[in-house]
């Protein structure tokens, strides 16, 4: 096994669980059951916060809604835990789906605020809709857990049921956060624009993670209400969310083991200090502070680092290289841009830009800083929506297509600043682009091991072709700049594109590296791949480009062969400067 920590934790957990069942008082068993319920909540939070990287403040609410659904079903209609589960899980998921439409596109703290506000509304509804929810008092007299009609008694039976659910939930979460999906999440967290540009449907991924968090929350809520046997607005309150966040950060925000370990720790911690009487919460606060200051990346990640230092695990072996599937060659115009216009505030970044690109053609795009070159690239790849104009690719209108769909259609790009995921290996950085279309939580549930292995094989071939084979297993962040450029180009080629957009590919490369890059790009163009290259480096660009276009203030001011462009007075005035003439 490459990851000894989960096994170690599993062993500790099993020993402790056996001890608790054999010797623990009902109190111990109950506290551990509650810890298990919070573990399930935290597993859901792991999806949206740890993996998708969105600071959601609604997970507590999903748990509360699940609790109310199960609680009302039990108290009003006598429906037991097991029969009410579909409702308790389905209702939060439904709510999450409804809320996601307006809320999920918001960024960082705006998303956090929106989810917080929704939680506040849910709390108000639960408090005020006395007829349904029992108001602030809540609903009591809810029965204990049942399974297939059999009662599950408090104590070890409940503990076993709850922790079986944690085991299944943890296994599912491990699937959804490992393999292709985990790599997809990592790219998305590092940079959303890059993720979309390599064909990842980040919106779908985020949406699925949000729904998954709601499902886990709802399930935890159903268990909660039949364990505590009362449901009240308390379960919808902000303190539950704070607990959930604390578990995630203290445990380790991206690890399944972190969610579970954090839940156990955060639930038990105040109980351990009970002997301190009036001072126990003070002690809890102090210990919480000490833990976060000493282990800021969370206990599991700290333990992992420690274990890695002790055991020094070997990296996974390289998969056998696989051939890259061929690209169909097409004739006719590849890219047609007509009268493209895009403004930011009052500033026209692109003003009536039109251009054509044929298969195998290399088009150089130059212009002063701020003339709209990158904006043009962003419009073509769907990161920006143009205000007017039309973009056709392979004859199809792609003006309004989402970025990931454009990328999957065969239009790849690189960025001005290399945007690889630093902690992921070069190989996986490329492999994820090979299988970007297969990344999804539902697929992840079925297991993506074979696909990932195949993708790694293809990625190995691509890295070899790009001259970066020897660094395949190193974290991308540790690579020299020039090598990172090569990995990034290999990743773009993993999409098997017909057109490659390069934004200042030679920046930061020395002459030797520039020459090497130019040679590789020329080979690609001869193989039928069209290139659109933004570059300030004229000695690099002039011999490479078949044709050039110069932008200034968002308008095309010159277009023609490299020689024509070089002597164009407008280009000299705006861009090259007198000295270069």
């Amino acid at each position: 096994m490459r990851r000894p920590l989960p096994l170690l934790l599993l062993a500790i957990g099993a020993i402790y669980g056996a001890w608790a069942i054999a010797h623990g008082s009902p109190y111990t068993l109950r506290v551990l059951s509650v810890a298990g319920i919070y573990a399930l909540l935290a597993l859901g939070y792991l999806m949206i916060f740890g993996q998708a990287g969105a600071l959601a403040l609604s997970s507590g609410t999903f748990m509360g809604i699940g609790a109310y659904a199960a609680g009302i079903a039990a108290a009003r209609y006598g429906i037991g835990f097991d029969l009410a589960l579909p409702l308790a899980v389905g209702l939060p998921v439904l709510l999450a789906a409804l809320v996601a439409i307006p809320v999920l596109r918001l960024q960082t703290h705006y998303f956090a605020l929106a989810t917080l506000i929704i939680s506040q509304i849910a709390l108000l509804v639960a408090t005020e809709w006395v007829g349904l929810t029992g108001g602030a008092n809540g609903i009591g007299g809810i029965g204990g857990l049942t399974l297939a009609g059999f009662p599950i008694r408090a104590g070890w039976q409940s503990l076993a049921l709850v922790w079986s659910a944690v085991a299944v939930g943890g296994w599912l979460a491990a699937r959804m956060t490992g393999g292709l999906a985990g790599a997809g999440f990592a790219v998305m967290r590092a940079d959303g624009a890059t993720a979309r540009a390599i064909g990842l449907d980040t919106d779908a991924l985020r949406f699925a993670a949000f729904l998954a968090s709601a499902a886990y929350g709802g399930f935890a809520g159903a268990l909660y209400v039949h364990t505590i046997r009362v449901v009240s607005p308390d379960v919808l309150g902000f303190p539950v969310m704070v607990t959930c966040l604390t578990i995630a950060v203290v445990g380790g925000r991206r690890r399944v083991a972190g969610a579970i370990g954090g839940a156990v720790l955060v639930t038990l911690l105040p109980e351990w200090f009970r002997a301190l009487r009036d001072y126990y919460l003070l002690a809890y606060g102090a210990i919480l502070l000490a833990v976060i200051v000493l282990l800021p990346e969370g206990i599991t990640e700290a333990a992992e680092t420690l274990l890695a230092r002790l055991l020094r695990p070997a990296p996974a072996p390289l998969p056998p290289a696989l051939p890259v599937p061929p690209i169909a060659v097409t004739r006719g115009p590849l890219l047609e841009i007509d009268a493209l216009t895009r403004s930011f505030g009052g500033l026209r970044a692109l003003d009536d830009v039109s251009l054509r690109l044929a298969p195998g053609e290399v088009l150089g795009l130059i212009g002063p800083n701020g003339s709209g070159k990158t904006t043009l690239l962003n419009c073509v790849t769907g990161l920006y929506r143009p205000d007017a104009g039309r973009i056709r690719f392979l004859g199809a209108d792609i003006t309004r297509l989402p970025t990931h769909a454009i990328a999957r259609a065969g239009l790849a790009r690189t960025f001005q600043t290399v945007s690889l995921v630093a902690e992921m290996s070069a190989l996986d950085n490329v492999a994820i682009a090979v299988e970007a279309a297969s990344v999804g939580l539902l697929r992840a549930l079925g297991g993506t091991g074979p696909q990932f292995t195949r993708a790694r094989g293809i990625a190995r071939t691509l890295l070899e072709a790009a001259g970066a084979a020897e660094v395949a297993q190193l974290p991308a962040g540790s690579l020299a700049y020039g090598i990172r450029r090569r990995v990034e180009i290999a990743r773009a080629l993993a999409l098997r594109p017909r057109l490659l957009l390069l934004d200042e590919p030679a920046a930061g490369l020395n002459e030797t590296e520039q020459a090497d890059l130019a040679a590789r790009l020329r080979d690609l163009a001869q193989g039928g791949l069209a290139l659109l290259v933004i570059e300030h480096n004229m000695p690099f660009l002039l011999p490479l480009a078949d044709r050039m276009i110069c932008l200034d203030h968002g308008r095309v001011i010159a277009s023609g062969s490299p020689a024509e462009i070089q002597s164009d007075p407008l280009v000299i005035e705006a861009y090259l400067g007198r000295g270069a003439a």
């Binding site: 002063p368 800083n369 701020g370 020395n510 002459e511 590296e513 300030h536 861009y575 270069a580």
Partner: protein, 233 residues
């Protein structure tokens, strides 16, 4: 020597970035620091200003050992730093970006602000504009202006031409002789070797964290080794 670096070793975790580099910059002189990307130019710059700590070696500035001083103290001793990638304060106005870097009194601050607007007229056009609204070239000038505001005895310029159009590169590098003439020594890290050597009196070449070549700019520009490595000749 205004700045003396003796046998400096710097590493990132396990990876050695500088391996025993020694280098000097004379008062009032200009030295071009050449080398491929990853050779250690930026690392050396960051070590001199104090954002990185050497594992071994010493740095002396104007006769004082500054190896253990924090960055803020070094800046106040008379080191000006213009980082790679500009890194202007995006939410501060042009004026505030300049003023914040000056430790002189109010009247002197105002005088230097005017000086910068004379040196870079583009900045004086809209001094209230926020830095993030500026184009790349303007930001580069602002970053240089900022590093000059405390009237440093030595200016560290890290890749000022990165990402600039040929015309802007010319404008920015063209200011360097003026700066040197005003009495500020310059250490210039630059990809564009030919252009860098044309504005500096001396040059030093880094390769894989080691200093491999140093000498007067004219000699280096003519050296076949340099021509092969940097000038495409």
């Amino acid at each position: 020597m205004l700045l003396e670096i003796e046998n400096c070793f710097v590493s990132y975790g396990q990876i050695a970035a500088l391996r025993g580099v020694s280098l000097g910059v004379p008062a009032g002189g200009a030295v071009a620091l050449l080398g491929a990307n990853g050779a250690g130019k930026s690392t050396l710059m960051r070590t001199i200003i104090g954002l990185l700590r050497p594992r071994a070696g010493r740095i002396r500035f104007a006769g004082t050992d500054i190896t253990a001083l924090p960055a803020a103290s070094r800046a106040r001793l008379g080191l000006g730093y213009c980082p790679e990638g500009r890194r202007v304060f995006p939410g501060l106005s042009i004026r505030d970006n300049l003023l914040v870097a000056c430790w002189a009194g109010r009247a002197e601050r105002a005088r230097r602000l005017e000086q910068m607007f004379t040196l870079f007229p583009a900045l004086g056009e809209r001094p209230g504009a926020n830095a993030w609204q500026l184009s790349g070239g303007q930001q580069q000038m602002l970053a240089i202006g900022r590093s000059l505001m405390n009237a440093p005895r030595l200016l560290l310029l890290d890749e000022p031409s990165l990402g600039l159009s040929p015309r802007l590169t010319e404008e920015v590098l063209g200011r360097i002789p003026q700066i040197v003439a005003s009495g500020t020594a310059v250490l210039l890290a630059e990809q564009n070797a030919a252009r860098a050597l044309s504005v500096c009196g001396h040059g030093s070449v880094l390769r894989l964290g080691e200093l491999v070549l140093a000498g007067p700019a004219a000699e280096l520009a003519a050296s076949p080794d340099i021509r092969r490595a940097f000038l495409g000749g």
